[in-house]
Each structure stands twice: as C-alpha cells, then as structure tokens.
Subunit: 313 residues, 2 copies
C-alpha cells in the first residue's frame, strides 16, 4: 500500500507492506483521513505515536470501507462504511485497528466529512459534556471557533441548548462561524462578553488570566489546544473564589478502552444528529494522499473554516 | 451577648444584642468556635462575610447547645448538641442560623473538638471525595499536612483506603502527622515521592509547576489554601498531556443550599467515623472567648498541629 511517510520531518508518499488484521481487528480501505494539530507536532518529531501503532505513518482519524476481518470480528462486515480515531497510520491506503474503535458512518456523510469527523467531534463532545458537564442554558465561550474542534464544539453546544460565544481571529471567517449558531466576536476584549460557565480554550495559554476573570462561579476552563503558547499565569485565589476548574485533555494518548468508550458515546449521543442533518462537518479543503505535504502546509497556514482532509482514490 | 468584634483590624470582645431565631432558624448557645484562615483575612478587611450574616463578628464554625427554636424548626430540640458551618458570627456567646446547616455532635466529642470539626472536615471531604473522587488505592499528596484541613484530609483519605503522603515544614510536627496515617516528608523535593493521583494544595501557588510534574495521568490538583502565594505558572501542555485537572474551592461564599447539602453529606459519610473513634479533631490550643486576639496571634504564628479553638464558658 502507499502511505504518507515521515522522513526527517519531510512528508513523502511511499510504498509500505499491507497491514494484516489480527484477532478482533478490521482492515479498512481508507477513503479519507483528516489532518489534526497533533500531526503537525508528530512531523517535527515532537509527538510520537503511542506504542503499537505505525511510527512513521501519520494520521489519527480515517473513514473507509471494511476490506477484511480478523478472527472473531462481530461488529462489521466487508464493505461497511466505517470511521475511527486510531493511534496512528491513518494517512494511508489501508489501515488496521480493533473493531471496537470503529463507528458506522452516518448515511448522509460523504467520505471527506466522515474522514474529518471523529477526532474533532469526539474531542469536543468529551470536553464539553463528559468532562465539563455542559447543559442547556449554560454560557459557553469557544476560543478559536473557526477550526475543526471549534466548529464541532459550537454545533454540539447549540444542539444541547447552550448559549455559545466564539472568538474568531480572521474577520473573513466570522460570518460562516456565526451560521453554526455562535455569537462571534473578535479575540480582543472577549471578557466583556462574559460571564461564561465554560470556556473551551483552543488557542493558547495567554488567554488564561482573562479566561479566569470572565468565568462565572463554578465555571470551568477546558484546555484542548495551546498552539499560541503553552504557559500562562494562574491566580489560584481567583480559582478558589470562583470554585473554578481548569482541565486539559488529549485523545491520542488514551488507552484502547478509553478510545472505544468514546466511540460508543459518539454513536449514542452524536451520530444521530448527523443522520438528521442537524450537525455537519465543515471541510475547508481536500487534498489527494499524494499531496500530503501541501495539505499540511495548508493546515499550518491557519485561517480556515473546518477541516483539511486527505482523500484516497 | 458578648462577641468577638472587629474594630479597625483589632479584635475586641463587646456586648451585642442577642440574636433572635426567625422562621426555620435555631438559636445556639455557643460553647466552642474554631478559627480558620478566612478569619485572618476578614480581620484585615480582605474577606467580608457574605450578605445576611454579621459583618463585624467573625467566626465560620461553632458547636453549642440549642437555646431556642424559631417557627417550624423540626430537626432539633432545646438542649441538643449541634455544630455547623455558618456565614459569620460564630465567635460569640450566641449565634443563629437555619436548622438545615446544623449537624448533631457525635457523642465522643468534647466541645473544642466539635467546635473545630465542621469547617476543616467539610472542606477536606468536599475537595477529596465530592470534587476529586478520591478512591481506595489512590495516591494522595497533602501539602501542609499539619494544619486543620491537612489533618482532616489525611484521616479521611486513610479511612477510605487511599495511600497518603504529606509535606510538613516543621520537623517537630512530623511525628504527630505520621501518626494520623501519612508518610510525612519535607516540602523540598516532594516530587520525587510521586506520582500522585491527587494533590491537595494547602500552602501556595509556588508548588504548582512541581505539582503538575509529579501528577499521574488523569491526576487532579485541589487548591484550598494559598497563604504562601496565590499566583503560579501553569503549563497547559503538561496539563493536556496528563489530562489533569486543577480546581479551587472555598466554603464560605457558597449559598445556603450548598452548605446544607455539605452538612448532610458529612452526617452521612463522616460523622459515624467520629462515633466509632476512627477520626478525631487534633486541637493545637484553646483560648477563652475574651482572649480572641491572642488566639488569632497563635493561629498566624503557624507551626501548630490541628485547630485553634475559642471556648465560651
């Protein structure tokens, strides 16, 4: 099979041996594989894949057709449309993973949407609901509303009846983000729009003091992305006075059982909203697998609405 | 009645009108009232009592005998031994509060122990269990193990089967703290004793970077006291990598319904362990009400094991 391959921080597309499904595993003919911030770090050698996954083939999410079943697989049959978060190796013509990681692709979704769904919707759903307990009427602020996790979070929060404000740096993207259901504001002076019950931080630690200042009592700050800076000052007296919580999360390093549980939750609580058309996966651009380097470049340039997805013919 | 009174940051004992119990309220003849860090701040004008409570009479916890019942009180009868966390006014001969705030005093406890129990055990129980979900086998680090909340937390965690390490600055107090069930260490280099699933921070924000470094995956940092400094640097990338949580808490500013709920939880889950003798309230010193100023001085001097309590004859 051909696969995107990291060679000395460069991306090339090379021939690799076809993976073989073991017991309980599914072999998937990949049709689309979304890009994520972690791929950028991995390419630079800063974020290796967890043990047991391909180390030189990037890619944490995919959608495709089941091509072969390992021993004892029960959930899927050959030809089924499936998607998953995996530990690595998604940006390839074939990928293999345990059947419990896969979810069925909702019927209305095309391949790019399915290939760019899992990581951002699982991340947003886990942070907003499982970890932060967002409920109807809660006031959510999303820092970085135009990106993959941002657009997913805004839609999920709106579908739950929360009130959503989102910061978007690029003026030309603000209309599109507000059409997802958020009140869209510039990052500067965002705290004036508070108080917020939950702040989803997708930008950087520099917002931390102002985040805390604009938080309501019992408020929560969920840190999912810190591309613009990792270290910030925390005023613990303010944290105590508001009985606030700051927590961080990543998907990739979680064990198989966690990832499988997250997939079950998404099937139960989120995928029906794709069937009904209430949720969608905004796609900024697609690139063929062979143009992975250009796709990564586009991802790093920023200023996009939604996902960059590699597609495999 | 006579009551400790704050006059220009000085503590005097003055005559005040006797409080009168309203509907659902209980009048208590105070026998003991513990001192807490918040009293020190209040005395300096930095931490006013919440609205509806005496503003010039300090005191957030008390134990005593029910002296009179307001209309509709059902939980108690005159003469009952009761204790509570209240919003202010505990350091007096009489105090009044809603009956739902009061708990019965466990039979083995004398007045100083009962008067110094509520604030620290409710604070520790809420932080360790309700907020951080401490369970058997979890590794807990308590920063500041010799103080009121520290000694309560160590005992509660041990009673649950958690493994407890505690930092104690003063060498002369370490033996006594280890007798409560903790492995006692010096604050310097504490991270070498990790990883910890939960860190209870009772000292200051300066520990924050090393706390995060010594935290296990899915670990939590509960911030309850920051006397040694409120601001610290938070590495949000490390927070994400460990999927860690930092949260702060205070008791005083919580609404009546919260305080009542905390009292019910303590009755259910903690007070039986005082009946059985498994838990105790370490008392560093008692002072008569008239010597409140000396008691506060002793509190601020630090280096004590357990509580400073005012007693009323």
């Amino acid at each position: 099979m051909r696969a995107v391959t990291i060679r000395d921080e460069e991306l090339v597309v090379e021939e690799h041996p076809d993976p073989v499904p073991g017991k309980g595993e599914v072999l998937v003919r990949v049709r689309a594989a979304g890009l994520n911030g972690a791929d950028m770090h991995q390419r630079r050698g800063l974020y290796p894949a967890p043990p047991g996954w391909p180390q030189d083939i990037p890619g944490m999410e995919l959608a495709g057709e089941v091509a072969a079943l390992g021993e004892g697989v029960e959930r899927f049959a050959e030809g089924d449309r499936v998607m998953a978060i995996i530990g690595g190796g998604a940006q390839a013509e074939l990928a293999v993973a345990h059947e419990r990681l896969f979810m069925p692709v909702p019927e209305p979704l095309d391949w790019p949407a399915a290939g760019g769904l899992a990581e951002v919707f699982v991340t947003a759903h886990d942070a907003l609901f499982t970890q932060a307990g967002l409920g109807p009427g809660d006031r959510l602020l999303v820092h970085g509303g135009a990106g993959g996790v941002g657009t997913a979070a805004i839609q999920l929060a709106r579908a739950t009846g929360a009130r959503v404000t989102a910061t978007v740096r690029r003026e030309e993207l603000r209309d599109a983000v507000s059409q997802l259901g958020a009140e869209v504001i510039a990052p500067e002076g965002f705290a004036e729009h508070g108080p917020f019950d939950l702040i989803l931080e997708l930008v950087g630690a520099g917002n931390l003091p102002e985040n805390l200042a604009s938080l309501a009592t019992d408020g929560r700050i969920a840190v999912i992305g810190v591309g613009a800076g990792a270290k910030g000052e925390l005023n613990m007296l303010a944290l105590m006075g508001k009985r606030a919580r700051v927590f961080g999360s990543t998907m990739r390093l979680r064990p198989l059982e966690d990832k499988a549980l997250l997939a079950r939750r998404l099937e139960q609580q989120v995928l029906p909203l794709f069937d009904s058309g209430e949720l969608r996966v905004p796609i900024a651009a697609t690139f063929p697998l062979e143009q992975a380097a250009a796709a990564y470049e586009r991802f790093e340039a920023g200023g996009k609405l939604g996902k960059i997805v590699l597609v495999v013919q």
